[in-house]
Amino acid sequence: MNLYCLGLSHQTATVEEREQVALNPAERTAALARLREALPEAEVVALSTCNRVEFFVAAEVGLHPVRAAVADALRAAEKPVACWERHEYIHVNGAAVHHTFAVAAGLQSMVIGETEIFGQIKSAYEEATAAGCCGRVLHRLFQTTFAAAKDARTHSAITRGSVSVGSVAVELAERIFGRLTDTTVMILGAGDTSERVLRTLVARQVKSVLVSNRSHDRAVELAATVGGEAHRWEDWNALLPEVDIIISSTAAPHHVLARDDVEPCMERRDFRPLFLIDLAVPRDIDPTAALVDAVYLYDIDDLQGIAQANLREREREIVRCRALLHKHEATFSHWFHKTFRPVDGGWTGPEPGSGESWRDREANL
């Protein structure tokens, strides 16, 4: 019995290439069926996310027929097989287990430590189980994978700290206000980043959203998509005392919110905290507004700086995470060896850095 993981990811292919080979749910189901046709005794799981397309196969055959079956399944789904083969990586047995655990724990993700991949792998596994494509080996592999990923997440800081501007802003807002369900958010201007930040806040069920833009039509449009109220540009200043969070990203060449605007409004709002998020360059909010009591001002550099620092922190956690995953790899390996015997080049495969790869070994399999 051998375990294979064949795939391409953001580490080996560009987004244009990944989108060419990405499989939608119907295509994944068809690909699973096609693979089972080609390898009737094999167990198969197909994973397709925006950052990776991978096939996990457990079969009593060598690598060559597995590669051919995957290529055939992709061809049947009208995917560019040449592109796949150009960027494909192959992990076998121990390396496949190591890779699966690392992917599920978020160590191979574009944003290290992100947890979405865990759910995506779970869905892929459930899909394959529903299609009758999983057997003893892959059930065991994925159950161990989920336990290993949970262990790594719980006992390391790999998921700690937000790593995107939007999530940093939300985390800060929660440090200031606690639950956001009683907060009112106002967005000035409507750039891409500000809209993303707004949507992240809206997802936390803020009480209300006010939108103001120089182009009122654009304000109305954005307000409609987030369930907010549009206000004319001339009116936003009067709304300041009601607002708890302001996201500003106008194209104005000067400050649109001065300290003199903020200071008097704080008394009218009983000095409830005011969180100002300035995403504009040049900046929209006078930096000295941060000196006003209970006003917390963050510009785009501050938010990006925090996100990057958190990302560096996560990178430092990788070693600890790998050690945690290693224990589960050993458990799986022990079970696998007790139950099966790898049919091709052994459990561990080529030594990393040896210059040899599974492609080199392919001829012998």
């Binding site: 440090r175 606690g178 008394e267 409830r272 925090i306 958190n310």
Partner: protein, 268 residues
């Protein structure tokens, strides 16, 4: 026996404080039952110790600085057990343990503070005056501790450090509300305590310096509480003011008592 009980209470507070500090080091708040149980146990031991003291002298156990410190420590714990439950702010537990433990420890490690003093029998009004005033000082102490946490948290947010560094503390908005509410409660209890002081029968000794000092503290707290209530003072200024008045109180309390006694500055 009474000192043993008070020493055991002190140990329980310090254990709760150590646990809270350890939890803070792990970037979380000590919110579990362990903290509540340790402080509750210390409170029971302290109540028992103070009760035995009161039984010996027949009056409220506030006859020397050791007893006063112990009583304030007891009132800090009482505040936590009541306010912590009402406001559901686990932070109060993390603040209570070191404050109550620290006050009790200071009283215990200086034997000179626990010299027996003969006091005339106390009237009900005088006992209420002393008891409520000391409870108020405990509450205001807790408000000052909350103010310190607010100032540190607000400073970190203003300095744009990452939010994960603020993991163990509640949101800054909630801290501001706790600071104000606890200080307000402390001031109301102080008002009641001083109110009883004004109806103390004439036979009781009223120290003039202490009276002026108490009125000064009461007015200072009254001013900042009112200013915050009327939104004339922001949370940072309020926190600094609350902390400042409490530190002033701590630094002058002993001196005022000494001046009052040694110079006989009594009201005519």
């Amino acid at each position: 026996m009474d000192r043993t009980l008070l020493a055991l209470a002190c140990l329980a507070y310090l254990a709760a404080a150590a646990r809270a500090l350890y939890a803070l080091g792990q970037r979380r708040l000590e919110t579990g039952w362990t903290s509540f149980t340790l402080i509750g146990l210390a409170f029971i031991l302290q109540t028992w110790g103070l009760f035995l003291r009161a039984g010996q002298t027949g009056i409220c156990p506030v006859t020397n600085l050791f007893e006063i410190l112990t009583f304030i420590s007891w009132s800090v714990a009482l505040n936590y057990l009541i306010l912590g439950t009402i406001f559901r702010v686990s932070l109060l537990g993390a603040l209570t343990a070191p404050l109550a433990g620290g006050l009790a420890l200071i009283g215990l490690i200086f034997p000179g503070l626990d010299l027996p003093r003969s006091m005339p029998p106390m009237t009900f009004e005088l006992e209420m005056h002393i008891g409520l005033s000391l409870i108020a000082y405990g509450t205001l102490g807790l408000a000052a501790m909350a103010a310190v946490v607010f100032l540190v948290t607000s400073r970190m947010l203003k300095a744009r450090t990452g939010p994960e560094r603020l993991d163990p503390v509640p949101p800054v908005g909630a801290l501001d509300r706790v600071c104000w509410r606890v200080a307000m409660l402390g001031w109301l209890v102080l008002t009641a305590g001083l109110g009883f002081g004004f109806v103390v029968p004439e036979s009781a000794v009223i120290e003039r310096v202490k009276l002026y000092w108490s009125l000064l503290v009461w007015a200072a707290y009254g001013f900042i509480v009112a200013a915050r209530w009327l939104s004339k003072m922001g949370p940072t200024r309020f926190a600094w003011a609350s902390l400042g008045v409490f530190v002033f109180m701590l630094l002058t309390f002993w001196g005022v008592n000494q001046i009052g006694r040694s110079h006989g500055l009594y009201l005519p």
